[in-house]
């Protein structure tokens, strides 16, 4: 590598400050611009519940909420999360109590290997915040950004239906996870 290139390399790996609130806790880190948000969550914050299943933004395994909106955290750089409030799967259960969507995935056998599950739960949280009473078709369309190889989606759809029911009857939880969207 030529010295000029080496110098450029240095500039490009220069770190930027990124301050985020993740699951209610403030974090500050210095990160390389190229660090993907998902790697930041996993490697710097130790939040390994958010998974990586592809290189091309198809699978949704990395889905989290950014200011209440479902986002594929593999398709955002950590530096872009500056000042944002993030919710990951680890922030869904509160005080030892599962979020109704988590409970529904458990009750309806909405997971097998579980690898896609955090992404689905976060996508479902967003979906139900937008549309608390979705039809089966709306659920299937609402989850189009997430792929599961194990369940054939049958029980995932059922889980979201069940969650919609419990969430509409149960009093609203303090942890409104997906308030955002338009």
């Amino acid at each position: 590598m030529a010295p000029a290139e080496r110098r450029l390399e240095g500039i490009r790996s220069m770190k930027h400050k990124v301050a985020t609130t993740v699951n209610g806790r403030r974090h500050e880190h210095e990160v390389e611009p190229r660090l993907l948000l998902v790697h930041h969550l996993r490697d710097n914050l130790g939040l390994t519940g958010t998974h990586i299943g592809c290189d091309t933004s198809q699978c949704g395994a990395c889905t989290i909420l950014v200011d209440g909106k479902a986002v594929k955290s593999c398709t955002m750089f950590a530096v872009q999360a500056e000042g944002k409030s993030l919710t990951t799967i680890e922030g869904m259960a509160k005080d030892g109590e599962l979020h109704p969507i988590q409970q529904a995935f458990w009750d309806e056998h909405g997971l097998q290997c579980g690898y896609c599950t955090p992404g689905f739960i976060m996508a479902a949280a967003y979906l139900l915040a937008q549309n608390p009473n979705p039809t089966e078709d709306e659920i299937r369309k609402g989850l189009e950004g997430n792929l599961c190889r194990c369940t054939g989606y049958v029980n995932i759809v059922k889980a979201v239906q069940t969650a919609a029911k419990t969430m509409s009857t149960a009093p609203a939880r303090k942890t409104t996870v997906a308030a955002g969207g338009n």
Binding site: R34, S57, K72
Partner: protein, 271 residues
């Protein structure tokens, strides 16, 4: 995969963004929603030397009615367009198209300006922009859509030029976008948009060539009173699409005809 290293700067104004682009040089790129750029960078098919993040430019995130025009800021996210009551009222076809781009997560991040500037043959907004004679406004000039899309992933934009707005005409008549794809979240194999406007039809085709196509032959046939079925036969008149994994050239041409018929019929409330 991990993208190659790059320099990063947040712009706080369009002017600053443009200056940063000039400073960083030709390999620098604008970062908007990132939903075309970041996947390419992860595959290292794109290795920009620097990214100028325009996500902080809130004044580019807008939807404004301006007489007979609808002005959509470059940073307006698909989800905002999809749900905007202004868009639903003034150009409902745009709201419909926005709701069909990618999936929820993609729509929460991807932007109008990003789709227009990226100029993917399968991008959905370029079709609408072209067929409705929209204007692409940049920090330097206004470019009519029919002069903007030059080739696959190639536009009239200069390296330091930034799309700020896309200006569509208001159109509230019968309309439909028929997007044919294998999976719900896929890009169009072929897409056809139909919009009734000023007493005539505007027909646009997605992914049947390197750039979007306006099906003027269909528009003319309809103007002369041809039935949709008949007029739609002209949808493939001038097409020479490249085949890909999903569709052969002749199948794409066939789809252009079938979907054109469907788009017109469905726009008018027929099946």
């Amino acid at each position: 995969m991990i993208p190659a290293a790059f320099e990063y700067a947040r712009a706080s104004s369009v002017e600053e963004a443009s200056n940063l682009l000039s400073k960083f040089g030709e390999d620098a790129k604008v970062l908007a929603g990132g939903h075309s750029l970041i996947p390419l960078m992860r595959l290292r098919l794109a290795q920009p030397s620097a990214l100028v993040d325009i996500n902080g430019l809130k004044d580019l995130d807008h939807i404004k009615e301006d007489g007979r025009k609808l002005r959509v800021g470059a940073l307006t996210r698909h989800v905002t367009i999809q749900n905007s009551s202004t868009v639903k009222e003034k150009l409902p076809l745009l709201a419909e198209i926005a709701g069909e781009v990618g999936d929820n997560q993609v729509r929460n991040m991807g932007t109008m300006g990003g789709v227009i500037a990226h100029a993917d043959a399968a991008g959905d907004y370029p079709t609408l922009a072209l067929m409705l004679d929209a204007d692409i406004v940049t920090n330097q000039r206004t470019i009519p859509a029919n002069e903007f899309f030059k080739d696959l992933f190639t536009t009239a934009l200069a390296p330091d030029e930034i799309v700020t707005e896309v200006v569509f005409p208001v159109a509230t008549g019968a309309h439909k976008y028929v997007k044919f794809r294998r999976r719900l979240f896929d890009w169009a194999i072929v897409g056809v948009a139909a919009q009734k406007m000023n007493g005539g039809w505007r027909i646009g085709l997605t992914n049947v060539g390197p750039t979007p196509v306006r099906a003027t032959a269909v528009e003319e046939a309809l103007h002369k009173g041809a039935q949709p079925e008949e007029a739609a036969q002209h949808a493939s008149d001038e097409l020479d699409p490249a085949g890909d994994l999903r569709a052969s050239p002749e199948y794409k041409k066939h789809l252009a005809r079938v979907l054109t018929k469907r788009a017109i019929n469905q726009a008018e409330g027929r099946q």
